[in-house]
């Protein structure tokens, strides 16, 4: 697979003005056991041959269950991890091989919002320092202008001027997440990777943060990569959605369509498993209950990763890894049997 991606990198990627981020055959392996003998090495293939693109101004949802590699994908795009293979084209430039110094201007253009608002803010820094750090690193504003900018950001995320000299522990979870969002916005990014930004918040507060993210997007023309396991929230916020399972993309398509007509058997099972907060609908609802164990991401062999739990499994599924193919316009599915299943 590594050779294949090398070959592609030499090709001229046609620069589509609408596409902000294009990920090509991205892979990230973690070494579980190293050895001089190749056959003894063990890799955890967290992200394995993943390709997708995100258009400017759109919200791209990445869903999957815990351990499927969705957060690793987000972090590898930001080069918080070095990719094992593949390319990350941000606005036409491949970030995968850039040095730290070359990356700096791109770091300003891509930011991240983290899951846990308790762990992602430094407890010894005031809100002013937390938000101001990025502004200083990138030399955006100085002196009075910087203060003005911080006030402006704080106001944007619904906090007050007097909050800037406080420390994170003085805030509630929802307020902390707002500080994290203000920090991400401080360097005027184009792409924000939201890694489960609301799952640590209370239900009644989640909606506040989601609405705010939507407002900020409209106002500033932001592009989001929204990573989450809460499918109903992802459907709400995303324009297009990719479903990930044990390091691979299973299905990619528009969010309305994905929920109305999922084609991959995993997506179908996943959607049917969501508890619906409506008792009458629930009583009529037929649920697909998956059997079997999740495929381990450590040295997975050839074949579909979902085959261990798939009720339609045939011989080909365990022998050949299915490719993500465009079945209908803008609807990609990685399944050998997709046509037979959805007759």
């Amino acid at each position: 697979m590594a050779e294949m991606s090398k070959a592609q990198s030499t090709e001229n990627i046609s620069v589509d003005k609408d596409v902000l981020l294009k990920v090509n055959n991205l892979a990230k392996y973690f070494t579980v056991k190293s050895s001089l003998r190749k056959s003894h090495r063990k890799y955890l293939k967290a992200v394995d041959d993943v390709s997708f693109e995100i258009k400017r101004g759109e919200t791209f949802g990445l869903v999957g269950e815990s351990g499927c590699g969705k957060s690793t994908t987000g972090r590898t795009i930001l080069r918080l991890y070095d990719p094992t293979a593949g390319q990350i084209f941000f606005d036409g430039t491949d970030l995968a091989d850039l040095s730290d110094r070359q990356l700096l201007p791109y770091r300003k253009r891509m930011q991240m919002i983290f899951q846990d608002p308790y762990a992602s803010l430094n407890g010894r820094m005031t809100v002013n320092d937390i938000i101001g750090e990025g502004i200083e690193t990138h030399n955006l504003y100085n002196g009075a202008e910087k203060t003005e900018r911080i006030y402006d950001l704080i106001h944007h995320v619904g906090l007050k001027k007097e909050h800037v000299n406080r420390y994170p522990h003085e805030f509630s979870g929802g307020q902390r997440q707002r500080i994290g969002i203000a920090r991400a916005l401080a360097v005027e990014p184009e792409l924000i990777i939201c890694d489960e930004p609301i799952s640590a918040l209370d239900v009644s507060v989640q909606a506040q943060v989601v609405n705010m993210l939507e407002d900020l997007q409209n106002e500033m023309g932001l592009t989001y990569l929204f990573i989450a396991h809460d499918l109903s929230m992802v459907k709400h916020i995303s324009d297009r959605i990719a479903v990930m399972y044990v390091g691979k993309l299973m299905e990619v398509c528009g969010s309305e369509r994905l929920y109305e007509q999922p084609l991959h058997p995993y997506t179908q099972a996943l959607l049917s498993a969501i508890p619906i907060p409506d008792p009458i609908v629930t009583r009529k609802h037929q649920r697909i209950i998956l059997e079997g164990d999740v495929q381990s991401p450590i040295n997975p062999g050839e074949g579909c990763r979902f085959a261990t739990r798939c009720m339609y499994k045939q011989d080909i599924c365990t022998q050949v890894t299915p490719e993500l193919r465009e079945l209908e316009p803008d609807h990609f599915v990685a399944c050998h049997l997709v046509k037979e299943i959805n007759k």
Binding site: E65, S66, S172, G174, Q175, D202, V203, S204, V205, Q206, A207, Q208, V210, N211, E214, H229, L231, S232, M233, K235, H236, S238, S255, E256, Y259, A269, L270, S272, A273, I274, P275, I276, P277, D278, P279, I280, V281, T282, R287, I289, L290, D293, V294
Partner: protein
């Protein structure tokens, strides 16, 4: 069907160095035999503390300050530790959120299950083992006879939760308390576990208290629901009453703030402004009043009694008082002593 549990004016507090945290402030509810009662609320609403009070697991610095918990005719708050420990695992069992931290990693599943079974029955070791294998089989663990000798880390999250359920049900309890049993699990695994709990409930006729913050899970599993907020019960009713005839502004707000799968995806959510109350200094009146769009003067001063809307449906909101102004969407009911 008789009552299995009756909780009267339960008050549980934690005496921390910062002061008294009033986690539960006067809960009243009853539960019928064979019921699946859901307790919903956000973190800090007192739902878990209510359950821990029932099973007698409130540790220092926490204390049940007041109230009665009548289970099967006996007041549990009056029992000694020894009597409570005989009861736990035998008549009342509990499943916790995180199956990894509630199983002991250095003992095999066999060890842990046999310990529970022998604590409450006079089975011999081999009988207890047979019973444990039967229970594991029942909760859908393949090759239970071999898997029983495994350690907890050799199981996946969903399987561990099955082991927890098997252990909790092994002494045929009358009441099972499940505290967020599926929250730590993935949706596809969650669906399996909920399905299993419903199946076990049908087969063994256990009454279940299910604590969760997920309205979807509640809708799926429960027969009646308690909505808690800021240490108090805001609304009680059957599933349909809470979902389709909700009359407390908090319950209504909760419904509106979750995205519905049927709703158009770009439709805006309606959040509840503000954040939950600080239980060190709980508001004098209704705990929801600082966030409530309909709050009146009395709401800030005095907590509302439970107003009866139907035989099974009560709600603690002053808007239901006969002198209150009419608010769209909230039906008036008869005042019940609070």
């Amino acid at each position: 069907m008789g009552k299995i549990l009756e909780v009267n004016n339960l008050q549980t507090s934690f005496f921390t160095h910062l002061g008294e945290v009033q986690a539960v402030r006067g809960s009243n509810f009853t539960m019928d035999e064979g019921d699946i009662l859901g307790i919903v609320g956000e973190s800090g609403s007192g739902k878990s503390v209510t359950a821990l009070s029932v099973i007698g697991l409130i540790d220092e610095p926490g204390k049940i300050k007041n109230g009665e918990i009548i289970f099967d005719g006996a007041d549990l708050t009056k029992l000694s530790n020894k009597e409570l420990s005989d009861l736990r695992g035998n008549d009342i069992s509990m499943i916790f959120q995180d199956p990894m931290t509630s199983l002991n990693p250095v003992f095999t599943i066999k060890n842990q299950m046999i310990e529970v079974i022998r604590r409450h029955t006079d089975m011999s070791k081999s009988e207890a083992k047979k019973h444990a294998i039967k229970m594991l089989d029942l909760v859908g663990i393949p090759e239970a006879a071999e898997r029983i000798s495994s350690y907890p880390h050799e199981f996946s999250g969903g399987m561990r939760q099955r082991v927890m359920i098997a252990t909790a049900l092994s002494c045929d309890p009358k009441l099972l308390i499940a505290d967020e049993p599926s929250t730590a699990l993935d949706v596809t695994i969650q669906a399996q576990i909920l399905e299993l709990m419903l199946k076990m409930q049908k087969e063994l006729k256990t009454s279940i208290i299910l604590i969760t913050h997920d309205l979807g899970v509640i809708a799926e599993v429960c027969t009646s629901i308690i909505v808690m907020y800021g240490g108090m019960i805001m609304e009680k009713g059957t599933v349909d009453e809470i979902f389709y005839e909700a009359s407390h502004p908090y319950t209504i707000g909760l419904h509106k703030s979750v995205p519905s799968m049927n709703r158009k995806s770009k439709e805006r959510l309606v959040p509840i402004a503000g954040s939950p109350p600080d239980l060190l200094k709980p508001p004098a009146g209704c705990p929801f009043s600082p966030r409530c769009e309909h709050a009146m003067q009395i709401c800030l001063e005095q907590a509302a009694p439970m107003f009866e809307i139907s035989k099974t449906h009560t709600s603690a909101c002053w808007l239901l008082h006969e002198d209150a102004p009419k608010v769209a969407g909230i039906e008036k009911g008869e005042a019940k002593n609070g």
